[in-house]
């Protein structure tokens, strides 16, 4: 089973918890941690399930609910704010038809906010999955979304 293989790449030490959870979440096409994932991590590291859940709910990169295939995270830190981050958020809400924290009905996109991504030279910035996009304009947003939709 694939998940067992993921676990076995890690030593049985509680300090690898976050790295382990990242890998389990990445292996899920819906980009979230299932109750089974949490139980597996807890058992493997010898931690109470409550400890694992406690950690998961603290960090913004983890989700306990199904998310879209692509997670879009728009930076709303002061520098991006200065360059119109909020109009990017509004445009995305309009184009996707969902609010912040929501997933499109076709299961393709989840819209989230994030703090500074460290790409301030090209503000406003967003991250789609592992990729950073900057100098965003309404036109550029439409192109990025169209390309991702095409890829499915």
């Amino acid at each position: 089973m694939e998940k067992k293989a993921i676990l076995q790449r890690f030593p049985r030490s509680p300090d690898v918890l976050l790295a382990l959870l990242h890998e389990l979440q990445r292996a899920n096409p819906q980009n979230y941690l299932t109750p089974e994932d949490l139980a597996l991590a807890a058992e493997y590291l010898g931690l109470p399930l409550s400890r694992v859940r406690d950690a998961v709910t603290f960090y913004t990169m983890f989700s306990l609910h199904p998310r879209g295939k692509h997670v879009i995270r728009v930076c709303d830190s002061p520098n991006c704010h200065l360059f119109g981050a909020w109009s990017v958020v509004e445009e995305l809400q309009r184009l996707l038809g969902v609010g912040v924290g929501e997933t499109t009905p076709d299961g393709l996109f989840t819209l989230e906010l994030t703090s500074c991504l460290g790409a301030c030279g090209v503000a406003p910035v967003m991250m789609v999955d592992d990729e950073v996009f900057g100098n965003l304009t309404p036109q550029k947003l439409r192109e990025i979304l169209a390309r991702l939709k095409e890829e499915g």
């Binding site: 918890l17 603290f58 960090y59 990169m61 002061p78 520098n79 991504l117 460290g118 900057g134």
Partner: protein, 534 residues
């Protein structure tokens, strides 16, 4: 590096990637092949060249010519006109002075110590780091110095923590060395999350071995055998490059068991964060490393005696560590020749916002703010008058044009009720509404407050609600006074710097832009943020 007539340095970082650097590289290789220049011209993929907001950036050496916004279609012209005929292509040339220095060279107002290899070497090749003198400092420490002598050198150099607090690094190391117990740790804090800051990312992406070397030196000095780099979860490229660098260092016997047959052993691991600003605070970081939620610990005891797993632990910022190899090689006196008497050395800044050349610069401690904005940043973007500068990130203070002559170092800024913090310099011209900007900061803090202590958890929420009343034009002088009162309580009573430091932006904004806040509070129209009047 192979001997080649010309080097073309291509910045491959996140920014270049999304500007299409892969396509430019492919075109470059193709055109060089066609012109038979593959042996003479070497392409070096580097980390950032220190230029931001200019798309794909190339540098041609030894000419020292920089090109920006390069598209695949431009490559042919660069090769034929510049590389073949020796005439730089004026159309694409960047007006900036060459920001890449040969080691130790001083360029204009920049002095590159921690960034000296960034943009110069291939970060994925350990031999290029070694060719620049890499790992010599570690060898010197292991074979020519006692651990106490290493600490003494760092202490005499006067190196202070670049993460924001400015604590003397040598004092920290000495405390860990003296702490009892055989098991000790060295942690590199690479959880860079301060808005407007990306210096650590660029050091990690551009010169990862420098950090590994410095951590091994720290381990030798304090008596630790294990090092951990806690990297922000979003920094995918940094994590990949560090892991690669660790594997290479192992293969060369520069990490692991019995380094260079010296009898000293040291292992380094990389751990990703998972999205929590508060984990940049060292005790929250340690909690997170133990696999828990990142709640700051009550101090004392401090990590130097009770850190990771309760053992003595050094926690140093990336930029702090990056100064260490040069201090050992060139000596404390050299380091003290840079900067100011109380803050020796250099500091890396990110210049952002309404400037002509946003990006990363490294200058001596004590450089005036005016030099940063007008000489290195090129002044305001459209020549509009400067309105404010937010210095030190979201947890920093607003300064005004009257503060332009302040020297940037820990002590001079303290005199202006400001902090150096992470070194983010956010420049705002007159098209900026300070009320609106403060809102962005307050929402950020409300989101990132970890929820552990009441002053911060309740205070950040209260501030956003007070701000919303101001923004809606449903407030008065009393609401502003209330905001000042809330941040004062947070400053005195919060558990960690996250809650304590919100006083800086709030107080400075309210004090220096009082009329602007009052007019919003009372419902007047704002021509800048386009809020309509009541």
């Amino acid at each position: 590096m192979r001997p080649a007539r010309t080097h073309v340095l291509v910045a491959v970082d996140e920014e270049a990637r999304q500007a299409g650097v892969e396509e430019v590289l492919a075109a470059l290789r193709q055109v060089l092949d066609r012109c038979g220049l593959r042996e003479e011209v070497q392409i070096v993929e580097t980390g950032t060249l220190g230029i931001s907001g200019q798309g794909v950036v190339l540098a041609v050496y030894p000419d020292g010519v920089f090109y920006g916004r390069v598209q695949p279609a431009d490559v042919e012209e660069i090769v034929e006109v510049h590389l073949l005929k020796g005439r730089p292509v004026a159309r694409l040339r960047l007006p900036t002075a060459a920001p890449v220095a040969r080691p130790g060279e001083i360029l204009g107002r920049q002095t590159r110590v921690v960034l000296r290899n960034v943009g110069v070497i291939d970060p994925e090749n350990i031999e290029e780091y070694i060719a620049q003198g890499g790992y010599e400092a570690l060898a010197k420490a292991l074979f020519a110095m006692k651990p106490e002598e290493v600490i003494e050198e760092v202490r005499r150099a006067g190196l202070r923590g670049r993460g924001g607090a400015g604590f003397p690094t040598g004092v920290k190391w000495a405390a860990v060395r003296q702490a009892p117990g055989p098991e000790k740790y060295v942690i590199c804090n690479a959880d860079e999350g301060e808005p407007g800051t990306f210096k650590d990312r660029l050091i990690l992406e551009g010169d990862p071995h420098r950090i590994l070397e410095a951590m091994a030196i720290a381990g030798y000095a304090v008596g630790a055998k294990r090092g951990i780099i806690y990297v922000r979860g979003e920094y995918a490229l940094s994590i990949r490059r560090l892991e690669r660098a660790i594997a290479q260092a192992h293969a060369y016997g520069l990490l692991g068991e019995n380094i260079l047959e010296s009898g000293f052993s040291f292992e380094i691991e990389v751990r990703p964060g998972a999205g929590a600003y508060v984990c940049g605070e060292e005790t929250a970081l340690i909690e997170s490393l133990e696999g828990k939620r990142g709640w700051p610990r009550i101090r004392p005891p401090y990590p130097v005696t009770h850190g990771l797993w309760g053992k003595p632990t050094v926690v140093n910022n990336v930029e702090t560590l990056a100064s260490v190899p040069d201090i050992l090689l060139r000596g404390a006196a050299w380091f003290r020749s840079l900067g100011t008497p109380t803050c020796p050395g250099t500091k890396v800044y990110t210049i952002l916002g309404h400037v002509r050349f946003p990006g990363l610069v490294e200058v001596e401690m004590g450089t005036p703010l005016r030099v940063l904005i007008y000489e290195l940043g090129g002044g305001t973007r459209d020549g509009r008058p400067l309105k404010a500068v937010l210095i030190g990130g979201a947890a920093g203070a607003f300064l005004t044009p009257q503060d332009l002559d302040v020297r940037l170092d820990f002590d001079s800024l303290a005199g202006r009720a400001a902090v150096l913090g992470s070194g983010a310099v956010l420049v705002m011209d007159e098209s900026t509404c300070i009320v609106d900007m403060l809102g962005s900061i307050l929402r950020f803090f409300r989101h990132e407050s970890c929820g552990q202590c009441v002053p911060c958890r309740a205070g950040t929420d209260l501030l956003v609600r007070l701000w919303e009343r101001v923004r809606r034009g449903e407030a008065d002088e009393a609401a502003l006074a209330r905001m000042e009162e809330v941040v004062e309580v947070m400053r005195q009573a919060s558990l960690c710097p996250l809650g304590q430091s919100l006083a800086l932006p709030v107080r400075s904004a309210l004090e220096k832009f009082r009329p602007e806040f009052l007019s919003h509070a009372q419902g007047a129209a704002c021509p800048v943020c386009r809020r309509e009047g009541k």
